[in-house]
Amino acid sequence: MRPWLSTLAAVALLADPAFAAPPRPPAEVAAELDREIDRRLAEAKVPPSPPASDAEFLRRASLDLTGRLPTPERAVVFLDSSDPDKRGKLVDELVDSPLYGQRFAAYWAELFVKRNDTAGKPNAAPFREWLAGEFNRGAGWDEVVAAMLTVQGDAPEKLFLLTNKERDIAPNRVAGTVGALFMGVQLGCAECHRHPVTKAWRREDFWGTAAFFARTRATEKKDAKGQKSVVIEDAGESPRAFVARPDPKKPPPAPGDFLPPGVVEIPDATDPMKRVGRAPAVYLGAGPADLGPTGSHRGPFAAWLTAPANPFFARAFANRTWSVFFARGLVTPVDDMHADNPPSHPGALDVLARELAAAGFDGRHLARSVCRTRAYGRSSAAAPGNENDTTLLSRMPVKAVRGPALLDLHDQVLGTPRGSIDPQVKVAKGEPKPTATRDLLDTAGYDESPDEYTAGVPQALRLMNTVLPTRTAAAAAMIARTGGPADKAAKDAERSVKGPGTAVPSQPLPRERAVERVYLALLSRRPTPAEASAVAAFLDARPGAEGFDGLLWALASSPEFVSVP
């Protein structure tokens, strides 16, 4: 089969008049998604799990959309509200929060940095800040991606290209990353050989994509004050030997070493110093690109990639967005979308891609729609008969809060300052310092499914024996004193009320209320009666701060706390 037949359907879809239409209300989109999901469940006779409890939904939506837990106060308001549309309104509130942009900026930054971890660890903070701002102002994914691909100079969006740097920007790395993350295809396989399953992409396709980036350079420059920074620019020509040279002592390329504009050489797969052919720039599946001798070649590529009619772009983003919420894409793996790997729910993917284009590629429209589906609102607890379902969306997969994000949640609920995890230890000369906690806990690789628990025993020991004991004590002391919430905002408020040297008598909450607040702060719910009595028995035997210390430790160590339920 010719590789491009499969994309014709998608192109036809894009010609659909609905594409010109404005986006539909999220509730309407959600209903259409649910119709296909429910039909598939009925056909397969797999019973869906019941709807999630309010608490489960609150915790899930808060972590998925903002990466943060609701405050105890917010949790109480939500749990006690009788508004029939309170879940939809919660989703809107979370999507409109500035934390939404930060959460998805962190998601993409991590993907970029971890996909190419050979590039070292470039400082991603300015990039995250830029991207969060873009998402929060409603910038389209097309606009954002084009900015990352065509960046010039020292702008924060340069991080994307810098994560694809070896000795210089490596066009082959850029091609692999663009394929996987923006087009949803494992184009990278074709770097060395045809894609083994689809046969769709040949080496010429991979290197033809790389060719657009062959003259992109990352150069260290000094400004007038001597401040160093790395700037992105386009060189005039494509030197023949663009691949990182194993031997840095070799002479720089001579004038005769330059290739025609928009052409790269294809290296031998087993010996990077040998060349086996040339590849002119091609738009994947859409033929050769006509590139001039001067100017950036990245602009034409970005324009082609992010056009509404591009067969890859919208579907890849829709599929990936879905995977953030449901822990797997409609097509899985998320970067392997091709004709022989069909979506689990083809209609849903079409709907999402169409809505995305209609909404000017604003991911917030997808988030609002997806989070309003009944499928998203189901419990993660199995129901009899759906225990083994992994594809039909009969229940919500439990996602893991991964190490560094977990530390942020500790900071939020225990009121500990950020970056206070590692005690300053003195070690003898030649002896190692213990691995920094953030590094030790950062066990997730590139693009693991969110429902994979990636930590092991070293991480468990660090958390239970070293991290938590140092972090629960202060919060426990405050709860014992005031019954107050284990919440940073409240702690700050208390501090400001107290002022230096003044002792403000605070009326301690009754113990049951204090326990309830601890549960609300850590687990976004009230304890069940059975839990409340188990906790009461525990606290009876350990009066004062010690008992609350133990309770905080146990809840922060619990499987529920480290889960997006």
Partner: protein
């Protein structure tokens, strides 16, 4: 000359050093082969010279001495190792095409170029732990006893279950004891509460990330209670053992490695990187100035006693038949130990599955044996461990990934295998 030895330890040392000639005869007569179950990687960061270790010749700074294998000579500053050469198979035509530290360290640790095919490849230690780890084991299946080289000790696609414990000899498992005023009694008490409060959430979510977290916490608690933790306690070793291995950093690492393997740990990595060799910040064997002096005064003595002691001690305890010992760095060196050299350098194997007393090729006469690439070396290591080098893991998206780069195309060095 060997450092000063007390009379008692000299006896212990010499018994261990010379007796194996007799014992190897007995071993040859033994019928059934024992099942491999462990691997110790003696990592030589910076790239050790082959010329003054196991491949003396025109490139040597020093002379050579005869060894326990007739006709096989070793560098003159390895007098104790000379007595152990009947255990070693020397691969002297290593050809690894990369003489840059960072990238070569990863390649020689995992058998793949870093990130090849967009995949996070596991370190040899994680791969061996995957093959040999007992799911009920209490001790960590993959332990790294030196920080040097530990940054590449990644479990890669095998996942955090096979991540290394990085510690130092005698220091035990990191984070094993509760801190900040949390006593073991209170911890036990709190874990009781934790278990009670976890049940309702986990029960209807079996097989989920939440259940995996609960299982991991249980494994951590099992490790904390394990009686096998004494394997980390070097004070349990007699003085004679400390003398045999030498009271040096690398000596303690090797002694610790033996204790761990004895207790059932499948993979231990140790590194010989005496700081006085090149000062802080530089890897031990990366000698670029005063090479001969550093080799003679620091590096070769640092290597000789611990490595010889480890081999003889493993042999004496009957562990060498089930334990593979691998000696290597990221590459070798040029003549007189100067400069990086990724061609015709030496890696050495000993123990299970290995034919001892074998030297294949030499840097002086490289045509004497075929070039041994990284995949060939890893195919040899896995073969010695009884693991099919063509074995594949199935990654996400049904993508098969062979444990050795190239799978069946890699050629194990059968001449080094028993």
């Amino acid at each position: 000359m060997a450092p000063h030895l007390s009379r008692r330890s000299m006896l212990a040392a010499s018994a261990a050093t010379f007796a194996p000639w007799f014992r190897s005869l007995a071993a040859a007569a033994a019928p059934a082969k024992a099942k491999p179950r462990a691997c110790i990687l003696l990592w030589m960061p910076g790239g050790p010279t082959q010329h003054d270790t196991f491949d003396p010749g025109p490139g040597s700074c020093f002379g050579s001495i005869p060894s326990s294998v007739p006709g096989l000579v070793v560098g003159e500053h390895l007098p104790l190792m000379a007595g152990q050469m009947h255990h070693l198979a020397l691969l002297r035509t290593m050809d690894t095409k990369d003489a840059t530290h960072d990238s070569a360290v990863f390649t020689l640790s995992s058998g793949y170029k870093k990130g090849a095919g967009g995949v996070r490849h596991p370190h040899l230690g994680a791969a061996v732990a995957f093959e040999f780890a007992d799911p009920r084991a209490e001790l960590p299946s993959y332990t790294c006893l030196s920080v040097k080289g530990s940054d590449v000790c990644t479990p890669g696609y095998l996942g955090a279950k096979y991540a290394p414990f990085v510690t130092r000899p005698g220091q035990g498992v990191p984070d094993l004891a509760p801190t900040a005023g949390l006593t073991p009694e209170r911890l036990a008490d709190q874990t009781g509460l934790l278990e009670r409060l976890s049940r309702e959430f986990v029960a209807p979510r079996m097989g989920s990330a939440a259940a995996a977290q609960a299982t991991t916490v249980d494994a951590a608690k099992r490790l904390m209670r394990s009686t096998k933790l004494t394997a980390f306690d070097l004070s349990k070793e007699a003085d004679a053992a400390h003398e045999l291995y030498g009271r040096t950093d690398f000596g303690r690492q090797c002694l610790q490695a033996r204790r761990l393997v004895e207790a059932g740990v499948p993979f231990v990595q140790v590194a010989c990187s005496p700081e006085e060799a090149n000062g802080p910040g530089r890897s031990g064997w990366d000698t670029h100035t005063e090479t001969a002096k550093t080799l003679k005064d620091v590096l070769l003595p640092a290597l000789d006693r611990p490595m010889a002691a480890l081999l003889s001690d493993l042999k004496d305890r009957g562990l060498l038949d089930t334990t593979l010992v691998v000696w290597m760095g990221e590459f070798g060196r040029g003549k007189q130990g100067v400069g990086h050299n990724s061609k015709n350098w030496t890696a050495a194997l000993a123990g299970c599955g290995v034919k001892g007393g074998v030297a294949l090729g030499s840097s002086a006469k490289p045509d004497g044996y075929r070039p041994i690439g990284v995949p060939d070396l890893f195919a040899t290591i896995f073969s010695a461990l009884g693991v099919d080098p063509a074995k594949e893991h199935m990654l996400k998206g049904d993508r098969p990934m062979s444990i050795v780069d190239g799978g069946r195309n890699a050629r194990p060095v059968t001449d080094a295998l028993a």
